[in-house]
Amino acid sequence: MDVDIKKLAKDLSKIMGKEHVFTDKPTSVVYAKDTMPWDLEERNIPYAVVRPGNAQEISKLLQYANEKLIPVHTHGSGTSLVGLARPKTNCIVLDTARMKDIRVYPERGYFEAGPGIHLAQLRKELGKYNALLPVFPGSELVATLGGTIAVNTSAHGVDAALGKPGDFILGFELVLPTGEIITTGTESTRRPAGIDPTKFFIGSEGLLGVLTLLRMRLIPLPYFQHIVASYRTTEDILDTVMEMYKQRIFPPLFFEYLDEMAAKIGYEAVGLAEPEGAVAMMRIHSWSKAGCEERAGDFLKFLQGGSPTEARIVTDLHEWNKIWSSRAEAGNYMYRLGMTFGSEISPRVDKLREAFRDAKSFILNLDSYQGNEFISFGHIGAPTIHAYAFLRTKDIPNDVKKAVALEMREKSEDLNIKYGGCGGEWGLTAQRVSFLKKKYEKEVYEVLVKIKKALDPNDILNRGNLQGWM
């Protein structure tokens, strides 16, 4: 497609002011690059990057894009781990970074925020009102609220204990792909029953509209208690999680594990004594101090009924912070020394052991690379296994990186299918479209295509993600 860049810049500048329109190539490549470990191709590089300040400007932009048939790719912070953020075709990148206002209304029981606010900043602001942001991704420093709700992801075991973040959304202001501005939902803390359009846009991965304002319930900050438990093997932790669900015990807000290797690395990095095997760590919550202590005590008893070599409540916050940060340090160790290729496997809970065994087996026998190591940690209480292929080098050709990433994707998705899961964190389009097509009947994908076509007849928004283009 031939696009006159100078004319494009002039037209876009009329919509949102020239200071918010960039057509220089350095800015374009910076916005196109994402966390995928392989490089950009020419088709990924946008014609322009625009930074609108409100719904009206986005409306005009989308009307213009439909008139000129130029795709628009939305950009929060580009942290997607399945390629959602990388433009699949030359386009206009719509950066939401300027839309980051927060308004907290304690008397109404909710807050409103722009899509571009970073979660860490939002958490800090909500903290002033003693309110909890029910989302804890590893990318919290930079992940945006808009991106989080567009993928409906929360990380840790928050799903199992509290719900998805979308469950707390009361309504949106958003712009449809054809430029109409609409509002959905309610200003009451009671969500609408029935066919509330709000839910069509939660988790819609930016395919059906651009969120410009999000209204979310204020959740009182709960009390927390922390537990750490050591196990001889990772399998013992998997057994514990299976037993927790079987006994219908309410899952902790966080229930993380480090396998034997991750625990050793993580503990050493934070200056704790080397554990003998694998480690599990939990955060229990409740809205009263006594209730929290009781729940933690009950959960500790449940753990002690299993096979830990040690399980205890950690009351010293300094010690807990060390233990908790060992998770991140295990990851950082791998990032520093080499390359990691991850997976997200969320099996039916009674199949955890088998899924873990299969994951270990395929990762130690990759076709695309020999000599890698296996390491795993993750939100096991959810349940999610993050199983990694760890390569102790960064000196790997681009095509090999891509091959390993894709093999990891394909084989871990096969396990999600085999063991009845779907994953719970990364969205279902872009690199996961092949999974979507394999997992469900063909009519499921066709329904999604029809919905997309009904709202976005010219396929303007995030083109290529629903098609599964790389």
Binding site: T79, H118, A120
Partner: protein, 114 residues
């Protein structure tokens, strides 16, 4: 010990290529903050620009120079990268990149084989 220009550029390219594009470093950058979050004015963005200048994807032009020279060398990104990412000496890499540019040693596509 004599170090050739090619060796310096090769080392620099290898180092900036380690950036995972996690963008954890952006929020601490004063230039990023001052521009209301323009990613090409962030440590992450400068590393990418440097990489694509060195590998010949980008030409040396006013915007690339402007973005690289927007770095104040405060070093806050270094701390973030050490804590959260790849342990890169981000500000030093950018400083070296700026030096090579100022010496006319990096010329984008004209140095395609770098």
């Amino acid at each position: 010990m004599d170090v050739t220009r090619e060796e310096i550029m090769d080392t620099l390219l290898r180092e900036v290529g380690k950036c995972r594009a996690c963008r954890f470093c952006v929020d601490v950058c004063p230039a990023y903050q001052a521009t209301e979050g323009i990613e090409s004015m962030s440590p992450y963005g400068r590393l990418q620009i440097l990489k694509y200048l060195l590998n010949g994807t980008l030409d040396e032009d006013d915007p690339s120079v402007y973005c690289l020279y927007s770095c104040l060398q405060c070093g806050r990104c270094d701390l973030l990268c050490q804590a959260k990412g790849q342990n890169l000496e981000v500000s030093n890499l950018i400083r070296l990149g700026k030096y090579l540019l100022s010496q006319g040693l990096v010329k984008g596509k004209r140095n395609e084989k770098v």
